[in-house]
C-alpha cells in the first residue's frame, strides 16, 4: 500500500494536478510518524503508511485555505472530518484530492511500554495485528492492545468520500461499543460527575493542544483568545478551565466526528472524548444525525426544518 500511495502521489505531483500531497513521513523515531507536505515527485518517496500514522491530517485543510489544489492522505475515519469541513464551506471539494487508505487500526503508543524504545527498528501491520521489530527480534502485539480504542470500535468499511482508494475496503465489524465509556460514566450521580470533571479540568494547563489538534476547531480567533470581549479568563483556575472546555465542546456539537485527536494531544490525559461522545449520543437521539457520515445532508445545527418536533419557544 505504501508503494501504491507513493506512486499515486508522484503521479498527482508530476502531472501538476495538485501542488502538494499532505501525508505522513517517518518521524524522529521508528514508532513515530510526522505530517509531511510533499511538493515534488522526489519528495513523495518520503511518504509512509504504517501503524504510526495516527494524526488526522484533515486538520491542515482549513488553515491552508490556499487556492492551490492539494491531495491529502486520510484514514476512513479522517474522511469524516473532511465531509464536515466541506459541508461547513471550509474546504472546497474541487480543490482537494482525497486519498483514502484502508486501515486496520493505528498504534496506541502505550502498547510499546514494555519494549525499549531505543531498540525499536520498525512498526508494521501484519495480519491485522502489529509487529514491532527490535534489534533482538520481533514482537507481535495483539489487536486489542496495539490499536487506539477508537480503532477497536471502528465500523467504517468504506470511506464516505474519496477520489483515490488504496487498499481493500469492505464491511467491518466493530469489536466493541464505542459508547461504552459513556455508559460507565453515566452511572455516576450528578454530584460525582461534577467532582470528576472538576478534578480533570484542574489538571488543564491551557496549552490548547486539544483545540489546535482538532480539525473542526478552525475559527480564526477562538472565543477564549478574544481580548476585547473577554469571554473567558486566561487564568488557569478551575472555573475558567471548565468554561473553556465545555464551551469548546458545545461549539463542536453535531460536528465532532470523534477522531480523538484532542485527547491524543492532551499532555495531561484529560478524557475529552468522553464529553464529545456524550454529545454525539445527544445529537443522535435528538436529530438522528452523526457528524461526517453523510456528505449530502446539511450540518445538523446549521439547518432548520419546518417539521422540527420541538415546539417553538414563545
Amino acid at each position: 500500500m505504501q508503494n501504491e500511495l507513493r506512486s499515486k502521489a508522484k503521479e498527482l505531483l508530476a502531472s501538476g494536478e495538485v501542488k502538494r500531497v499532505i501525508g505522513y513521513a517517518a518521524g524522529s523515531m521508528p514508532f513515530k510518524c510526522t505530517p509531511d507536505f510533499a511538493e515534488t515527485p522526489e519528495e513523495a518517496d518520503q511518504l509512509v503508511w504504517n501503524p504510526t500514522c495516527v494524526n488526522n491530517l484533515s486538520v491542515y485543510l482549513p488553515q491552508g485555505a490556499s487556492k492551490e489544489k492539494v491531495a491529502v492522505v486520510l484514514k476512513p475515519c479522517d474522511v469524516k472530518n473532511v465531509v464536515e469541513l466541506i459541508k461547513e464551506n471550509q474546504v472546497d471539494r474541487e480543490n482537494v484530492v482525497l486519498i483514502a487508505m484502508s486501515c486496520p487500526g493505528v498504534l496506541n503508543i502505550e502498547a510499546l511500554k514494555d519494549i525499549d524504545p531505543r531498540e525499536i527498528q520498525s512498526v508494521e501491520w501484519k495480519d491485522g495485528e502489529v509487529t514491532v521489530r527490535t534489534s533482538s527480534g520481533e514482537t507481535t502485539i495483539p489487536r486489542d492492545q496495539a490499536f487506539l480504542s477508537k480503532c477497536l470500535t471502528c465500523d467504517l468499511g468504506e470511506p464516505v468520500l474519496s477520489d483515490v482508494k488504496i487498499g481493500k475496503f469492505g464491511d467491518r465489524a466493530a469489536a466493541g461499543d464505542k459508547f461504552a465509556s459513556v455508559e460507565e460514566y453515566e452511572k455516576l450521580s450528578p454530584a460525582e460527575r461534577r467532582a470528576f470533571w472538576a478534578k480533570q479540568f484542574e489538571q488543564c494547563i491551557r496549552c490548547y493542544g486539544c483545540r489546535q489538534a482538532c480539525p473542526t476547531c478552525y475559527c480564526k480567533e477562538c472565543f477564549v483568545d478574544k481580548q476585547a470581549q473577554m469571554w473567558a479568563s486566561k487564568a488557569t483556575d478551575p472555573t475558567s478551565n471548565w468554561f473553556f472546555h465545555m464551551t469548546r465542546m458545545m461549539h463542536l456539537a453535531g460536528r465532532c466526528t470523534g477522531c480523538g485527536e484532542c485527547e491524543r494531544a492532551c499532555p495531561m490525559n484529560i478524557p475529552l472524548s468522553l464529553i464529545s461522545k456524550r454529545m454525539a449520543l445527544d445529537v443522535m437521539e435528538m436529530f438522528a444525525d452523526q457528524a461526517g457520515v453523510d456528505a449530502e445532508t446539511a450540518p445538523v445545527l446549521g439547518c432548520f426544518t419546518m417539521h422540527d418536533p420541538d415546539p417553538c419557544p414563545e
Binding site: G27, S28, K199, Q203, R206, C207, Y208, G209, T236, M268
Partner: protein, 348 residues
C-alpha cells in the same frame, strides 16, 4: 569541578519514608505523584505515593505557578491602594527532582535576576526550597541532556543527589544545606562498593544517552533563513504543549481581573508559540506566522540564551519531543542546523 560536601552516604530505600516524615514538620515535601496517568510534583503527606519511575512533568509549576497573583488594587478617585500578595514562607523540600529540572532552575534564575529589581515572587520560592534530586537511571527515548551539558553526573542547583543502587540509594551533598540534611540518622557512610555501584548505575544510564555536542558554540552559526523553518511551520499546529512542558520556558502574560474599582492583577503562562503573544496594541504582529514562531523557540533556547546568559536555554529533557502531537523534534532540528552544509550556506 563543583565541591562535593561531606563524604558520600547511603540510605536504605525503606528509610526514605521515615526520613521524609521526620522532615515534614520543617518542610512541605514536594514529590512526583502519578494520578490519571500524569506524574507531577505535588505536596505529599504520604511518602508511599511517590513515583520515581515515571518521567514527571517539570518543576516549572513549583516555582512559577501557571496563574499567580501579583497584587490587589483598589481605586479611589485619582489614587490607588495596592496590596502585595501574601507570599508563602514555609520551607519546602523537593524530593525526586531530575537533574535536568534542577539545571533548568539555574537558567530561570538568570532570567529572573538579569534586570533589577529581581522577581521577588520567584526568588522567595527559590530561597525557601531545598532540592533533593534523584539520578535518572532510565532516561526516556526523548532525553538528550548529555548532549547539552554534563549536569546528569555533575549536578547543578541540587542540594542532595540520590543514585539508586538496588536496595539503597548512594547519596551526595552538593551544598551546606544538603550536608545538613545528611546528618539525619537514616544516612550511613557509604563504602567503596557503594560508590562503585553508583558509578556503574551512572555508566549504564549514560550509555543510552548521546555524547556532548557543541551546541553552545555552533548555535552562533544558525541560519535564520534555513528552508527548514517553512517546512516546520507547515506541520506545527500552533499549540503550546512544547512550551508548557518545558522546564526553562518562563514567558508569561499579565491580566487584570477587575470588579468595579477593585481588582487583582495576575500573571499566567504564555508562549511565543501563540499568535497573540507578540500581537501589538496597534495590530501589528512581528511574528505573524508559525514560521517565525517555530524559529523563535529554537533560536531563543539555543542562540539568544547563549548570547544573553552564556548558557543554553535547553536542558535536553526531551519533554517537548515526546509530547509533540506532530513529532517536531528540537534535537533533530538543532543537529540539522549544525550540519556543515547549513553552516556553509550561511557563510556563503
Amino acid at each position: 569541578m563543583r565541591t562535593q560536601f561531606v563524604e558520600a552516604r547511603i540510605i536504605s530505600k525503606q528509610d526514605i519514608a521515615p526520613w521524609l516524615k521526620s522532615l515534614a514538620g520543617k518542610y512541605d515535601i514536594l514529590a512526583p505523584v502519578t494520578e490519571n496517568g500524569v506524574t507531577t510534583f505535588k505536596t505529599i503527606d504520604d511518602p508511599s505515593a511517590i513515583d520515581l519511575v515515571s518521567q514527571p512533568k517539570s518543576l516549572r509549576e513549583a516555582f512559577t505557578p501557571e496563574t499567580e497573583q501579583l497584587f490587589e488594587y483598589k481605586l479611589s478617585g485619582p489614587s490607588a491602594e495596592v496590596k502585595d500578595p501574601v507570599v508563602e514562607t514555609k520551607d519546602r523540600l523537593i524530593f525526586g527532582a531530575r537533574a535536568c529540572d534542577a539545571a533548568a532552575l539555574k537558567y530561570v534564575d538568570a532570567v529572573y535576576s538579569m534586570v533589577k529589581p529581581v522577581d521577588t515572587l520567584y526568588f522567595d520560592r527559590r530561597e525557601h526550597t531545598v532540592i533533593a534530586g534523584v539520578f535518572c537511571d532510565n532516561p526516556a527515548w526523548s532525553c538528550f541532556c548529555t548532549e547539552v551539558n554534563d549536569f546528569l553526573t555533575n549536578p547543578v542547583e541540587m542540594d542532595v543527589y540520590f543514585t539508586d543502587i538496588g536496595e539503597k540509594y548512594f547519596v551526595q551533598a552538593y551544598t551546606s544545606m544538603g550536608e545538613k540534611l545528611l546528618e539525619a540518622s537514616q544516612f550511613k557512610p557509604a563504602t567503596d562498593a557503594d560508590s562503585k555501584a553508583a558509578e556503574a548505575a551512572r555508566q549504564k544510564a549514560m550509555s543510552k544517552l548521546p555524547a556532548k555536542a557543541a551546541h553552545d558554540t555552533e548555535c552562533l552559526t544558525y541560519d535564520w533563513n534555513h528552508p527548514m523553518w517553512a517546512k516546520l511551520s507547515e506541520k506545527c499546529m500552533g499549540c503550546g504543549i512544547c512550551a508548557f512542558l518545558c522546564p526553562t520556558c518562563h514567558c508569561f502574560d499579565m491580566q487584570d481581573c477587575a470588579k468595579g474599582s477593585c481588582g487583582t492583577r495576575f500573571r499566567c503562562w504564555d508562549t511565543c508559540q501563540f499568535e497573540k503573544f507578540t500581537l501589538m496594541g496597534h495590530g501589528h504582529n512581528p511574528r505573524p506566522s508559525r514560521k517565525e514562531r517555530t524559529r523563535q523557540r529554537v533560536f531563543h533556547k539555543f542562540k539568544y540564551s547563549v548570547e544573553r546568559y552564556e548558557m543554553l536555554g535547553c536542558v535536553g529533557c526531551g519533554r517537548c519531543i515526546a509530547a509533540c502531537p506532530v513529532n517536531i523534534d528540537i534535537e533533530k532540528i538543532v543537529n540539522e542546523l549544525e550540519k556543515p552544509a547549513a553552516v556553509e550556506a550561511e557563510s556563503a
